[in-house]
């Protein structure tokens, strides 16, 4: 399984009679391979949820393509058999007038109409046990009688009933308390072990770091940096990534302000998707990466080093790349 996003763009029409446009997602390309967690990190309004909703087919794509195993995505029953989502607010994801286990019923009606009641009950119970819930504790309850962590796990169990290939987890832990959060994250790690791909959308860097093989950092609808998680987190190259990382509170460590993201020093042309490969499996946008770009891209076809560099930044970046 491989979900591939190729120059995916979303433009919203806003204003009276759609006179103005708003680009929420701008030419984003990345893959979610099977058995891997890819975390999509970005601040509010960065377009990360829009991306998730486009992958789920809830929002149409303006330009570019999303393919699953090479076939273009066609939202519908067949697609949702393989691709499912879990959303941020568990209490809003359940229809408050129905019991929580109705989400299983909907799946049964749509995908397993032939299953007998006993068969289906056994499958639901097995799925609930898979997500470490006691079936007797959650079946027959209303959403307001269950906790947020239980509800999110019910939703994951719901997805597991299907022949799932990809799970889009959109901020699924942001409404949970710290201890429940880690349970749900471990659950996602387990799901990954079954060969599923997980797109983990979050604004929380440490959670992304904990779980993901690969990380995509999104800002204002474009990818600023992506690659193997240890590389992106260990040697952040883009000023925005560094700013994000320095905004993570640490114990016994006073916060320091990263240098603000200023305008980009030179715009790239030629690099695929506007991204330059800084090292293996580590891509950075549009060379707001100053020194690195010069060092790494020299001699590369299409690479066009420009020497407008700020000395201070350059030194710092070199230090970072050489492993401090």
């Amino acid at each position: 399984m491989m979900l591939r996003l190729d120059n995916v763009t979303k433009v919203y029409k806003v204003g009276a009679f759609g006179g103005k446009t708003l680009t929420a997602v701008d030419r984003v390309s990345f893959d979610v391979p099977e058995g891997q967690v890819v975390s999509l990190i970005g601040e509010s309004g960065s377009g990360k949820s829009t991306l998730g909703r486009m992958i789920l087919g809830l929002v149409p794509v303006t330009a570019g393509s999303i393919t699953l195993d090479g076939a273009p995505v066609r939202p519908g029953k067949e697609y949702y058999r393989h691709v499912q989502g879990v959303f941020q607010d568990p209490f809003s994801t359940f229809n408050p007038v129905f019991k929580a286990d109705r989400v299983f019923q909907l799946i049964r009606e749509a995908y397993f109409p032939a299953a007998t009641a006993a068969e289906w009950d056994e499958r639901v119970r097995a799925a609930l046990r898979d997500v470490r819930l006691d079936p007797d504790q959650v079946l027959g309850k209303y959403p307001h009688q269950l906790s947020g962590g239980q509800l999110q796990r019910v939703l994951i169990a719901r997805a597991l009933l299907l022949d799932l290939k990809l799970l889009v987890a959109d901020e699924i832990t942001s409404m949970l308390d710290a201890s429940t959060r880690i349970d749900v994250l471990n659950l996602l790690a387990e799901i990954k072990g079954r060969g599923l791909g997980v797109l983990y959308i979050t604004h929380d860097l440490s959670l992304g770091n904990y779980l993901a093989e690969r990380t995509v950092v999104l800002r204002h609808g474009t990818v600023v940096e992506m690659g193997a998680t240890d590389k992106v987190f260990g040697r952040p190259l883009h000023p925005y990534t560094r700013q994000l990382l320095s905004a993570v509170p640490r114990l016994h460590d006073p916060w320091e302000d990263a240098e603000p993201v200023t305008s980009c020093l030179y715009h790239d042309s030629g690099a695929a998707g506007g991204l330059a490969e800084a090292e293996e499996d580590h891509f950075v946008a549009c060379a707001r990466l100053e020194g690195c770009r010069e060092e790494r891209l020299e001699g590369r076809p299409g690479g066009r080093p420009e020497g407008v560099l700020k000395g201070r930044l350059e030194g710092r970046l070199k230090g970072r790349l050489e492993g401090r």
């Binding site: 789920l56 519908g76 959303f87 809003s92 007038v97 129905f98 749509a110 307001h144």
Partner: protein, 303 residues
Amino acid sequence: MTALQEAAPRDPRDPRDAAAPVSGRREALHFALRNGKLLAGAGVVLVLLLLGLIGPLTIDAPPNEYVGPPMQGPSPEYWFGTTTFGQDVFAQFVYGLRTTFAAGLLGGVVASLIGMVVGFLAGFRGGLLDEILNMLTNIVLVIPTLAVLLIINAYLGIRSVAAQAIFIGLTSWPWAARAIRAQTFSLRGRDFVDLARLSGSNTWKIITREIAPNMSSYLLLTFILLFGNSILIASSLDFIGLGPTEGVSLGLMLQNASQWSAMQLGMWWWFIPPGAGITAIVGALYVANVGLDEVFNPKLRET
């Protein structure tokens, strides 16, 4: 009011009271049975409805037959007296109730159906469809019903209760559509709508099985208001002579009483029953509506 105050401390969501999980529906019933306004309103409507349904079965002659002595006040034989022509006012009243309920029900159902379809579609689909349906709603909203009816009556003539009720239904749905549209609009952004999509539900299924159940109380209230509204309009139309020309209804009784100077002749028994009947039905419906509102809306319940 006292029933409300008694009911308030026993909130089923209160953890102290959570021995048995109380479902939403059972909770509504719990409060409904303790709501004085709802019980009183529903009681009055039910009594009059039964009277309209059963009453005509006990009366042999058609309501407009000249059965008795003219201009007689209420008596054991003619409970509500007789008209100038010797028609039995009680017979007319019970038959009139039946017609009036029928007109209100049919008009209310037609208006509710159109209002729901337009409101749900406009609110859920949004975009261009919303603009078009909104325009249609606003146009119907500002159509002068009375003038249109005069014209229709002049050309086609409204002869039956059903035609009158359908006309009322066709002209009184806009505000219901607007209200339902607004509610739908706020519900369609909820995640459970997306989850239903991910479960393979289509738009129709999402509207009927996810959104409508969420506002079932709202829809019920809308229907009750449209029902009362239809009765009022039907009676007014009958009274000014634009109603059905056949049969008998409470509005027609009022029109006849007025036409034959019942008030000047002191024949109070001719016009008070139909007038009181209309007032009682519509008033009771509105009181029941307020009671239902209190049942479904916890904010009103806590006072």
